[in-house]
Every structure is written in structure tokens, then in C-alpha cells.
Amino acid sequence: MTTVTAPRMITPATTQSRIWAVTKLTLTNPWTAIILPWIILGIIFLANVAIWLLITRAAPIGAARDEAIEGFNYGGASSFIFIYMLIVAIQTINLTFQYALGYGVTRRDFYLGSSLTFVLLSLMYAVGLTILAEIERATNGWGLGGRMFAPVFFGDGIWFERLWIFFTAFLFFFFVGALTAAIYVRWRSNGVVAFSVGIAALLIAAGALLTFTGNWAAIPDFFAAVQFLGGYSLSLVISLIAAACGYFVLRGATPTN
């Protein structure tokens, strides 16, 4: 051996651009995560308008009408989007993991890039829903007393409280989805079953604790004390724990055939 030169290597991109590349990868086809949800939301909205029209026409005056409009407050029509995003998170992690690894992406960069996607999507949907909720309130429920984007579940605060509530709710569903998918990618179905059983056991244990200490009233008291804003803000703690756990679970995952 007379001359030893190191093999030619490519200078790796910066950490930020590697993570950003993963974010772009997860959104290469924007159809599933961005376009389709808005289309579905639009269709649900039109269906709701039709229903509001029917109900207000059937009960044109008096107490019946007031009661019907009161009922609009509890519309769950926009809740589909949160469950949908849970599934988007699961699909993104599960289906892109192997693919990205083949491109020489590290698990770390993959998870951070996907997480950035989830934060950006949360932000986009939170802003979108807040705008629609504000329009809904300003037009007295699209002129029909209807409520789809500002139902009672998201509080009655001003716009930036609502924005925060939507944002934290989306983060919650995205990162619970990310953790579930990471568990699936690492341990397959057995892992997800064990995880679900663990969560269920935890909830039952908490229920037992409240029952035996006679403290069930503490729950409504607690939520009355923290109110909507506090409740959603607290979900951020769960989202952060899920995000961190997802990271550590996925770092030990290997692709399987």
C-alpha cells in the first residue's frame, strides 16, 4: 500500500435541508393530506346547509325552531377531519418509512421531517378552520343559524383562542397517530395491541382510583376550572409525550417485507 486516499464521498446536505427533504417527500402528492380533506369538508358543509334549510323550513317559527337551532350547536360535522389526520399520520409514517430509508434517510431525519409535516398541516388546518369559524359566526351561521366550524366543543372564545384550540387538537391527533404508527412499524400488530391494552388498563386504573376515593366529581370540576382553552392546552402535554415516544420507538425500527 503506497498511497491511501479515502474513497470519494458526497458532502452531506445540512441537517435542516435533509429534514426539509423528508417533509417535502411526505407531501410530494398533496392529494391525500391537503386536497382531499378540504373537498370532503366542502361536501359535508353543503350537506349541512341542505339539512339546516330543511329543518328551518320544517319548523319555521317559535320554540321548535329555536330548539332546532340550539341543536346545531352540537354538530360534529367537522370532527371527521381530526380522525382523518390521525390516519394521515399513521399512513405517512408507515408507508414512507421504508421508502425513505432506501433513499439513505436516517430514522432521525425521517421522524423529524414527518413531524415538521404534521406541525405544518396542523397550522394550515387550524388557520383554515378558524377563518371558516369566524365567517360562520359573523354571518350568524351562514344566514341559517347553522354551526359546523364553531360548534360548542371548540369553546366560545375569540379568534386566536379558537386558532390555538384547533392547532392543539390537530397536534394531538397527528402525534398520537405518529406514535401508533411507530409502534406498528417497530413491533407490528402485537405492539399496537399491547399499546392499546396498556392505555385501556391505565384508564381503568384511573377510573378505579377515582371510584374508590370517591373523587369522580374531580373530573368535571377540573375541566370547569381549566375551561376549554386550558383543556386543549393540556392536550399539548400528551402530544409532546407521544411525539417523544414516537421518536424513540422509531429509532429502533427496521423495515420488514
Partner: protein, 301 residues
């Protein structure tokens, strides 16, 4: 010569099954190496270990001088194309070629375009709707156009027709000549790639049983044919890989027959025939315990 890959005492166990067993070898820069072996011999596991996709049970792996596991400095140089590659559910072919350049610094878009044309790949079609062969073409094109300094092709051409396979070999050789890099190719179609390979690694039941340059390997075994008596007499205590008898005639494949040995065989009235790489691999790997193989195959499912 420069080693791009250096593996020492590498073992990978899945539960009680040993997929890779105490492997030690190196791969030199700017060579095309064949990783050959039977189904379930450990080829894919070995490649996954080399690309940081699997974690070793014991032993050391150095790729570009460092461990590949979670190492962006190393992995930025690596492209790993596998037969069973899964794509995101909603991807069309064009999405693969839109996203691949973000991960390969030396991606050649023009070359990719050319290959897409040559392989007649429908870019607007959803990946789920592609035929097996078209799916394989995507991998082949990404592997070639990525120009990664270290490229792995794991059974890249399942379902590709003979024309497309020839196209792959031609393009690989041509592009390799213009842009030298290190290529590791695992395949069952050994005869087809025999001329491409500069180095051969044969893995059997998790063990590296051959690690040799292709040229010397090709000349390493010889089949002698003649009457049963003269073949038996010639073989003596030479290492025999394979033996066949038909009536009064016999043939024996002898490992490492040197010039003097060949002369002796000719003098004994035996006919000498060279052994192709494929026959050689078959003869080296066909005799091992079948139970081992069954276990290996099962774990890979």
C-alpha cells in the same frame, strides 16, 4: 485500492435463527460486486445491515470508514434498491422521480428521463396499478440515475423481460464507465451478470463461502470428463465439488485445479471443460443442509 465497505465478524440473529454468521469481507471502491446465494441465504439481510436498516447482533461494519447506522454522512452516499420496495400509497410514478432528486446530490434528471423512455414507464400511472416488471423498472432507474457512490441493487429486476434486463446491464456498464462508483448487485440470474461482475461474494446459510475476484473464480474450478475408472483415478484426494456418472462415463468438478493438474488430466485422457460462474455457485451452495435453508426462508417471510 480503497475499501468502501469493511465487515468484520458480522453476525445477525433473528431470535434463534442466524441470518448472517460471522461474515468478514471488504468491497473495494469503484467495483461491481455480485452478492450471490440461494433464497434465504442472507443476501437481503446483509444489504440491510450494510445500509443501516438492520442492527447487527455482533461484529463491525464500516462503510466509508464509519458505522452506517443512523449516520447521515455515510447514508447520503448510499442508494438501496430492493425488489420488494414499497411506495407511499398515493404515489404515481412521477412522484418518485419528483422526490428522488431531493435525496441524491448527484441525481441526473436527464439520464432518468432517458431511462423512463427506454423502459417505457407510464409516469402518470399510480404505482399500485403497475405490473411487476414496471415496478422493477422504477427501482432500476432510481438506482442508476441516483449515481450514489455506493449503490445496492437487491434482485432489482423481478418481472423484467429479457430486453429490459439487457437494457439494465448495458446502461449500468455504460454509466459505470462514465461515472465510476461502487455497485453491489444481488441476483439469481448469475449467468446474465457474470460478465458485469469484477468481484463475487457468495453467501450460503448466512456464511460468506466465496469472496474472490470474478476472473480468478471463473478459472478456479474445472470439470473433467472421461471413463469412470480414469476419472476416479485422477480425482484421488483432490477437492471435488460435484460428481456425476452416466453408464461407464463420469465427470467430476474439481476445485482449484492448477496448470500442472490440468496437464495431468489431459495426459490421463480426460476432457476438460470450464465451469460457468452459475454452475460454480450452484455446486458450492447445493450441498448444504436443507434444514438450515428452510429455517432461513421462513424467517425472511
Amino acid at each position: 485500492m480503497n475499501a468502501v465497505i469493511e465487515v468484520t465478524g458480522l453476525t445477525k440473529q433473528f431470535g434463534s435463527v442466524t441470518a448472517v454468521s460471522d461474515a468478514t469481507f471488504s468491497v473495494q471502491e469503484n467495483t461491481i460486486s455480485g452478492l450471490l446465494g440461494r433464497n434465504g441465504a442472507g443476501k437481503t439481510t446483509l444489504m440491510q445491515l450494510l445500509t443501516g436498516q438492520q442492527f447487527a447482533t455482533s461484529g463491525s461494519i464500516k462503510v466509508f470508514g464509519e458505522s452506517p447506522v443512523e449516520n447521515a454522512r455515510v447514508l447520503s452516499n448510499v442508494s438501496f434498491i430492493k425488489e420488494s420496495q414499497k411506495y407511499p400509497d398515493d404515489f404515481k410514478v412521477k412522484h418518485v422521480f419528483r422526490s428522488a432528486p431531493w435525496f441524491f446530490a448527484e441525481w441526473d434528471a436527464e439520464f432518468a428521463e432517458l431511462l423512463i423512455d427506454e423502459f417505457r414507464l407510464p409516469v402518470h400511472r399510480r404505482i399500485k396499478k403497475l405490473s411487476r416488471g414496471q415496478l422493477s423498472s422504477i427501482g432500476v432507474i432510481v438506482g442508476l440515475a441516483s449515481r450514489a457512490p455506493l449503490t445496492f441493487f437487491d434482485e432489482p429486476y423481478l418481472g423484467l423481460d429479457a430486453v429490459a434486463r439487457q437494457l439494465f446491464y448495458d446502461r449500468l456498464l455504460q454509466d459505470y464507465a462514465e461515472h465510476p462508483r461502487t455497485v453491489i448487485l444481488s441476483t439469481h440470474l448469475i449467468d446474465e451478470v457474470a460478465n458485469l461482475l469484477e468481484h463475487v461474494l457468495v453467501i450460503d446459510a448466512g456464511r460468506i463461502i466465496i469472496d474472490q475476484d470474478a476472473e480468478s473464480l471463473r478459472g478456479s474450478a474445472t470439470t473433467v470428463v472421461g471413463t469412470r475408472g480414469s476419472v476416479e483415478a485422477f480425482v484421488g484426494d483432490r477437492e471435488v465439488l460435484d460428481r456425476e456418472t452416466i453408464g461407464g462415463l463420469a465427470s467430476a468438478t474439481i476445485n482449484g485445479l492448477d496448470g500442472a493438474g490440468k496437464a495431468a488430466a489431459t495426459a490421463a485422457g480426460l476432457e476438460l471443460t470450464p465451469v460457468s460462474l452459475q454452475q460454480l455457485v450452484v455446486k458450492h451452495t447445493a450441498t448444504t443442509d436443507m434444514n438450515d435453508h428452510k429455517q432461513e426462508v421462513e424467517i425472511n417471510r
